[in-house]
């Protein structure tokens, strides 16, 4: 029977250290006394094993969450992790490095982006991975959805045959470029491969036709913007989300918590 007692003594390691230190010796005494009085050894061992498994789990659990302070800490950590996980998947922060979206977005604007928006509509801003270099993130405005016909006449965007009213856009140059401002004209300068492809494949009757699965985007600062005119269509699968608000802007305190549209 000595072996049995030793096995029980080892089994007591299932309990938390403090519990074992305080009650271990007494539990061994009880075990021996009960063993001596038990009419059936197998039934006694079964009942003891059951008791040991259930209560050691219970004691370990209480030991983990024993004080109110640790419990609050555990809850707080859990909530923080949850919020962080939700935040990282649904909202992301970006900073605006160029003037291509002025006057809507200024250099130094820190943006929160709603990442749940995957299908931006015409006239909405969109944040996307740049297809020529996926490590770069761009922000532009959606002008054309799949099937839309787009041309630019003397800086005026014509969408599906109608002049587009764009209160968000601005032109800084009086100079009229034969490509930038009369699109799709003849690009005298180098354009990205995707733009060259767009010009060779998707131009019909002097208009660009947006293919299925793509977006045509332009910067609001029309004369200072690298956009679909120069890098071609944006694959919808590259869309990260829609800008939601400026949470902070360096040098423009009045833009704090400004909703962007």
């Amino acid at each position: 029977m000595r072996l049995l007692y030793e096995i029980y003594a080892i089994a007591l390691y299932a309990y938390p250290r403090e519990f074992r230190a305080r009650f271990g010796r007494e539990m061994e005494q009880v075990f021996r006394a009960r063993r001596a009085a038990a009419p059936s050894l197998p039934r006694f061992l079964l009942a003891t094993a059951r008791d040991l498994i259930i209560t050691s789990i219970k004691e370990r659990f209480t030991a983990m969450t024993t004080t109110r302070a640790t419990r609050s800490l555990a809850y707080a950590t859990g909530i923080a992790v949850l919020l962080l996980a939700v935040g990282v998947t649904m909202v992301q922060a970006y900073v605006i490095p160029t003037s291509s979206m002025e006057p809507s977005l200024l250099i130094g604007d820190h943006l929160l982006v709603n990442k749940t928006v995957r299908n931006p509509q015409r006239g909405e801003m969109v944040v996307f991975r740049y297809h020529e270099d996926p490590s770069q993130t761009f922000i532009k405005r959606v002008i054309g959805l799949p099937g839309d016909r787009i041309r630019i006449e003397n800086k005026q965007v014509i969408l599906n045959g109608e002049r587009l009213v764009e209160d968000y856009a601005r032109n800084l140059d009086s100079y009229v470029d034969s490509y930038r401002d009369n699109f799709p004209g003849d690009p005298k300068l180098h354009v990205e491969t995707a733009a060259a492809e767009m010009l060779s494949r998707n131009v019909k009757n002097g208009e660009v036709v947006v293919p299925e699965g793509d977006l045509f985007v332009l910067g609001d600062n029309r004369d200072r913007s690298l956009d679909s005119r120069f890098f071609g269509f944006v694959p919808q699968s590259n869309v990260i989300g829609r800008p939601w608000m400026v949470y902070w802007s360096s040098g423009h305190w009045d833009r704090t918590l400004l909703e962007v549209r």
């Binding site: 305080r22 539990m27 005494q29 009960r34 003891t48 059951r50 008791d51």
Partner: protein, 107 residues
Amino acid sequence: MEPLTPPVFHILLALADEERHGYGIMQDVARQTNDALQMGPGTLYGCLKRMLAAGLVEEADERPDPEMDDERRRYYRMTMQGRKTVRGEAQRIAIALSAAKSKRVFA
């Protein structure tokens, strides 16, 4: 006040008349309940730990039990708080019992 769990209530009852060690408590609880409540050592000492923390019981001294071997055993006794608690619980059960009788679910 929350109803006591059966093990806590019966441990308090076991200590109502005298100090007992762990095995003594188990034996008395088995007697009280006609062997219906057979606590294992984990259940017993888990309850005792919480009851010590709640001030329902306290440790008495360590001494051998004359009816058993000559090993020294830790004895436990009920505190005033424990006595008040077990009295309250017994009253609650008595009221529940008389309600059960008046509704003829119990002879």
